[in-house]
């Protein structure tokens, strides 16, 4: 039984099939450029916060090179600066990153044999924003692992350059939180969310997720609250998909 969702994921027959790997990487790279507006200040902010928390310049850059996950990095330096132990930091890292498993499953469903780059390389660039962009391109019929790789590479370069700038010039900048530059982080996720809200079910799930996360954050560790919220909201989405009346009107 195919759902409308599945048909939308497959998209139109892709003209992209005839493009070269390099063209698709460039497509991903350029499509991600608007997100540099958010990634640059975020990277600088992250670097300043990391240095304030006590990480050395090398360690701060290493975080952006090796972890390459904005929300996890922010959580790590925040916890570290607050004196949290290694176990708490690593547990939070795991919880915040669990959603990547789902991104990978979703991407795996679209991978053809012989797709480049190889999955071990592609995996490192599977971040929220790159995944979001690649999914949008898939829905337009232009998606591929090369596009995902290009987007991820674009953001990885931007984020690491921003980190470097934050390390180098951090002491000269006004403390980013004081001027509210960190607000660009939730704005970026809002910007990524909006294109998905094209059906009533999608809006319902987004709204439910929003309310749930705000409530659960008051009751438990924010990382746990986040994972719980996503699981419950996704469950709601699948339940909505299965009801025949709603499915016709407002499927994703």
């Amino acid at each position: 039984m195919r759902t409308d969702t599945l048909e939308r994921i497959e998209g139109e027959p892709a003209a992209a099939a005839s493009e070269t790997f390099r063209q698709q990487v460039r497509l991903g790279f350029l499509t991600a450029l608007p997100l540099w507006v958010g990634a640059l200040p975020f990277g600088v902010t992250f670097a300043v916060l990391a240095r304030t928390a006590g990480f050395s310049a090398l360690e701060t850059q290493a975080l952006s090179v090796l972890v390459l996950a904005g929300s996890a990095q922010l959580a790590i330096v925040t916890l570290f600066g607050g004196g949290a132990g290694a176990i708490a930091i690593l547990a939070t890292t795991l919880m915040l990153n669990l959603r990547h498993i789902l991104y990978a499953i979703s991407t795996q469903a679209r991978i053809q044999p012989g797709d480049r780059p190889s999955r071990p390389i592609l995996a490192h660039f599977l971040m929220d924003e790159a995944y979001g962009l690649a999914t949008r391109e898939y829905l337009k019929g232009r998606g591929s692992t090369a596009v995902l790789f290009g987007a991820g590479l674009s953001l990885a370069i931007c984020f690491n350059v921003a980190t470097f700038i934050g390390i180098a010039f951090g002491s000269m900048l006004p403390y980013p939180e004081r001027i509210g530059l960190d607000f660009i982080f939730p704005l970026s996720f809002l910007a990524l969310l909006l294109p998905f809200l094209r059906s009533r079910n999608a809006v319902l799930v987004a709204a439910f997720s929003a309310v749930t996360v705000l409530i659960t954050r008051e009751l438990m560790n924010p990382s746990v609250a986040f994972m719980l919220t996503v699981i419950v909201a996704v469950t709601l989405g699948t339940l909505l998909e299965q009801r025949p009346g709603l499915k016709k009107e407002g499927s994703v």
Binding site: L33, L68, A86, L190, A191, F196, A210, A233, V234, E241
Partner: protein
């Protein structure tokens, strides 16, 4: 160095979560799971965006106004950079004026 060990451990954990999904056989996925996959970005991005708008730096009015401005610009022009710029400008403007 202790910190580098922590960072490497965090990096390994992050990488493992990313590659783990690739190891799973996609034919094991049911249509229901496919539907669920479609909702993951929606649920995750909403849960990542909303807390920073409900609480955070600046005033609530400024954050709500900034979020609304960003949403309107993106809805109207479909340009991410324009939306982010509009959102931040409105966010700062509301605080400056208020």
């Amino acid at each position: 160095m202790e910190n580098m060990a922590l960072i490497l451990a965090a990096a390994v954990i992050t990488y493992l979560t990313r590659i783990a999904g690739f190891a799973l056989n996609p034919s094991l996925l049911s249509p229901r799971l496919h539907a669920a996959l479609a909702y993951i970005p929606i649920a995750a991005f909403s849960a990542l965006a909303v807390p920073g708008i409900a609480t955070g730096s600046g005033t609530l009015d400024a954050r709500l106004a900034g979020a609304l401005a960003a949403a309107l610009v993106i809805y109207r022009f479909s340009a991410l950079w324009a939306g982010l710029t509009a959102g931040m400008l409105v966010f700062w403007l509301v605080q400056w004026v208020a």
